[in-house]
């Protein structure tokens, strides 16, 4: 059953600005007939915004979209669906208390009629037609994630889509299910002549199914090429390759050898079905920045969670200044002098509390007198922080009303204001504008110069190379190598990120 090829989609000069942040900076992308088009790039590079634009969830500020040669305005997901575009994200939109057939019927339903019989036949035809086996009468809530994902894909197909956007579809799957999903993708391309956008961080999958690949970095397409025949190594090189932007300025001071070890991990493991950490060990000395690089989803978030006390390690030890922290809770780590800046700044911010209150939230003892808040001391500290960290806000303003950059500065002021022994900073400049990015990086370098041991986790290789003294590369939950930042080439790092050990 071979359908006629799906006409191509053109996204031309798509530009989208959120406040001071340019999310998409004139992106042009072609989705050709019957192809699997892989979209690569670090988180925050604009992949999601681009796909939201294509699915009508967000409107570009400028640029236009052609579907099959006809200029089309995708004002909402309804318009996108009418144009034959379907999207499957990591968060499924299934009614869990209904059966598979009922969910499919909802997708096809008109205004009046819900055709359950037709939905059931869709489900029954699915194995032979698409290789998608689903139990039509099972409750969605009872199905494992992999099957729910199949239902979600089938829902898009039942609604008549010709273009399918898959946003990190394998992130939630085990190896066997990944294999079968890739098989389905190939089948949809070869037999149904559909065009598929595949967002993924897994090079192996891209290597297997992608016909073409585009790399997004900071809102722009930096490479768009044929993927057939490319190896994992070449793909990673494409992803991390020089962007031709301004050269990375290296900070002046380097760690002194022989400085005391401030923070150490010894054989830390977190067991998970997917993800997790395997025997991670490293030491960070005072006045040193250890960069942690890796393709997204190779254990970096778990590492940060362990270092901040929100995830309990199954085995291994966490040492601060030579002593083992047995019960590593956030408060225990803070007390030991380990501060952290999470990758999601909103998760660390109490939006409806004032800047002045957020600023002392992790060091309340120091502004408490006989159980009462010393408002005067808090105000003085806040005024000083606003000045020192160039925060554009008043002390009494709710933190939630600040721009991303200023909110980040408040959290950094809180982190570095207590002169921590060690600081964990994760994706510190994600989503920030150029000026804020520069400033935040200079703050991190400044803390290092003051003797703080910094663990910098970032998907932005430029950032890691600019700031880090040493770089630990993570791959599949392991540290595959730790190298001096001055002695390693970008290519070498790319190889390590692709799993070729140092």
């Amino acid at each position: 059953m071979k359908s006629s090829p799906t006409p191509s989609i053109w996204l031309k000069d798509i530009r989208k600005v959120y406040g001071a942040t340019v999310a998409l900076d004139g992106v042009t992308l072609e989705l050709r007939p019957a192809e699997v088009h892989a979209l690569l790039g670090e988180n925050g590079a604009g992949k999601t915004t681009l796909m939201k634009t294509l699915f009508g969830l967000t409107q570009p500020d400028s640029g236009h979209i052609e579907v099959g040669g006809v200029a089309t305005r995708l004002a909402s997901p309804r318009h996108a669906r009418a144009a034959g575009i379907g999207m499957v994200t990591q968060h499924f939109s299934l009614v869990k208390t209904m059966t598979v057939a009922e969910n499919l019927a909802l997708a096809e339903a008109g205004l009046v009629r819900v055709d359950l019989a037709k939905a059931r036949s869709t489900a029954e035809d699915a194995p032979s037609r698409y290789g998608l086996e689903v139990p039509a009468d099972a409750l969605v809530a009872d199905l494992p994630v992999a099957l729910q994902q199949r239902v979600e894909i089938l829902k898009a197909l039942a609604a008549g889509c010709r273009y399918l956007i898959l946003d990190e579809p394998t992130a939630v799957l085990g190896p066997k299910d990944v294999d079968s999903l890739l098989g389905v993708i190939e089948r949809l391309r070869d037999q149904e002549s559909m065009s598929i956008v595949l967002i993924s961080h897994k090079m192996r999958e891209v290597e297997r199914v992608a016909d073409r690949v585009s790399v997004l970095r900071r809102g722009a397409v930096v490479a768009s090429t044929t993927a057939k025949g490319m190896t994992t190594k070449e793909l990673v090189a494409l992803m991390v390759g020089g962007d031709g932007g301004e050269p990375v300025a290296r900070a002046a001071t380097r760690a002194k050898d022989g400085a005391a070890v401030a923070l150490a991990l010894r054989g830390v493991s977190v067991k998970r079905v997917r993800g997790g950490l395997a025997e991670v060990s490293f030491e960070v000395r005072e006045g040193e920045i250890l960069g942690v690089a890796g393709v997204s989803g190779n254990g970096q978030s778990e590492l940060v969670d362990v270092l901040s006390g929100t995830l309990r390690a199954d085995s291994g030890q966490l040492e601060v200044a030579g002593s083992v922290i047995a019960n590593a809770t956030p408060s225990a780590l803070l007390a030991a002098g380990v501060g952290m800046l999470g990758e999601d700044r909103h998760a660390s911010a109490v939006h409806h509390l004032a800047v002045v209150e957020n600023l002392v939230l992790d060091q309340l003892q120091s502004v408490t007198h006989l159980g009462h808040l010393n408002r005067g001391a808090m105000a003085r500290r806040c005024e000083a922080a606003i000045k020192e960290f160039e925060i554009k806000a008043t002390p009494d303003q709710h933190l939630g009303t600040l721009s991303g950059g200023n909110m980040q500065k408040v959290l950094l002021a809180r982190l570095f204001g207590r002169a921590p022994r060690a600081a964990i900073v994760s994706q510190p400049t994600r989503g920030l504008d150029v000026a804020s990015t520069r400033y935040v990086r200079s703050l991190i370098a400044g803390a290092r110069d003051d003797g703080t041991a910094v663990v910098l986790v970032s998907e932005d290789l430029d950032e890691v190379l600019e700031l880090a003294d040493r770089v630990a590369v993570m791959y599949r939950g392991q540290v595959v190598g730790i190298v001096r930042a001055t002695e390693v080439s970008r290519e070498k790092l790319g190889e390590m990120m692709a799993g070729v050990s140092a």
Binding site: T58, S76, P330, S331, A335, S348, D362, G400, T401
Partner: protein
């Protein structure tokens, strides 16, 4: 066109009062229609409900009396909600408080008033706190939703009272399911001569002001607010979220229990099945109408006390349903909640974008 809620950056002093006035206006319009529909004259009805109780000494002091338990439950609910602990069980905790207070009152014959009056409040507080402990532990330790558990324990408390009054505490003289009258020494003294206004009101106001002071001025209060507003961020900042929830829940239950003791010691002087006419549930309305502000909840409690007294006289005089008072409270709740959203967020109409 879809509405989007955007956090307001500014908070001018006039916006809150202006929105409350608007909410009151909308409430008047809506309830006037309902009163008209049930055959009454809205203007006359509103005069009976809001003005008349304030014009006579009796009406005013009865309003204060009616507001007294609401002062306790309003504060109890407000402090729990501020911590993000959705305690809908103030009713049950108040009832548990009446049990503790009655037990104490029945055994307080030999005690002087100076000991017995504070003692009966403490007994109520302990029982109220104990009643809130199980849902609080379930929430803090196992993450079980407290809305359901606290709510479902309310009828349980009433059943315990029914059991006690039909069993060990059955009235020894009449044989009716009312307890015996508590010791004289444990009764709240009347503080306004020739009225029924009793010392419980003063205790309620003091407790409310202590909550206000704690939440606004003390370090523990800032922790409580941070946990309530963003538990994840509070945990990252090293605060003990579970501990805060647990202690707030217990304090909240204790305050509600004190409210129950105040009713026993101040008004009823014995335990009856109808000891609470939904004071705990009305406490949720009080706290919400006051936007979880403690000083505001004092004002709201008095206002609802006035409506309570007024709606009865309105119903007698104009033969409109006496439940009209509750209807007004409910409409007011809806309009004020809507106004609170507008106070915090502005609504932006945006095309297409979700």
């Amino acid at each position: 066109m879809k509405p989007r809620f955007v956090l307001r950056a500014d908070d001018p002093w006039w916006r809150g009062p202006a929105l409350v006035a608007l909410a009151a206006l909308v409430t008047f319009v809506v309830t006037a229609a309902l009163i008209r529909w049930s055959g009454g004259n809205p203007i006359a009805a509103f005069r009976y409900m809001f003005i008349n109780p304030l014009q006579s000494r009796f009406g005013f002091t009865e309003s204060i009396l009616s507001a007294t338990p609401l002062v306790f439950t309003g504060a109890a609910v407000a402090i729990a909600f501020r911590a993000g602990y959705w305690n809908i069980g103030a009713e049950g905790q108040l009832l548990a408080g009446t049990i503790g207070a009655t037990w104490f009152g029945l055994h307080a014959d030999s005690l002087p008033s100076v000991v017995a009056v504070p003692g009966i409040l403490v007994a109520g507080a302990i029982c109220g706190a104990a009643w809130s402990l199980v849902p609080a532990l379930l929430r803090a330790r196992l993450g079980i939703d407290e809305v359901v558990t606290t709510l479902l324990l309310n009828p349980v408390a009433l059943l315990v009272i029914t059991g006690l009054l039909n069993g060990p505490w059955r009235n020894s003289e009449t044989g009716f399911p009312d307890s015996d009258v508590i010791a004289k020494s444990a009764m709240m003294p009347v503080v306004w001569p020739d009225t029924r206004v009793h010392l419980g009101l003063a205790f309620g106001v003091v407790v409310t002001l202590m909550c206000w002071w704690f939440v606004g001025r003390m370090t523990g209060g800032l922790k409580l607010r941070a946990v309530g507003l963003a538990p994840g961020a509070a945990r990252i900042a090293g605060l003990h979220v579970e501990r805060t929830l647990l202690s707030t829940a217990v304090v909240s239950g204790g305050i509600a229990g004190m409210g129950g003791a105040s009713e026993i010691a101040g008004v009823a002087h014995q335990l009856t099945i109808g000891i609470s006419s939904g004071f705990g549930y009305t406490g949720v309305i009080v706290a919400t109408l006051a936007a979880l502000s403690f000083v505001g909840s004092l004002v709201v409690a008095l206002m609802l006390g006035i409506i309570n007294v007024g709606s009865f006289s309105a119903s007698r005089a104009l033969s409109i349903p006496s439940t009209m008072g509750e209807v007004i409270q409910s409409v007011l709740l809806i309009t004020v909640v809507a106004a609170l959203v507008i106070q915090k967020y502005r609504i932006v109409w945006k095309r297409g974008d979700a």
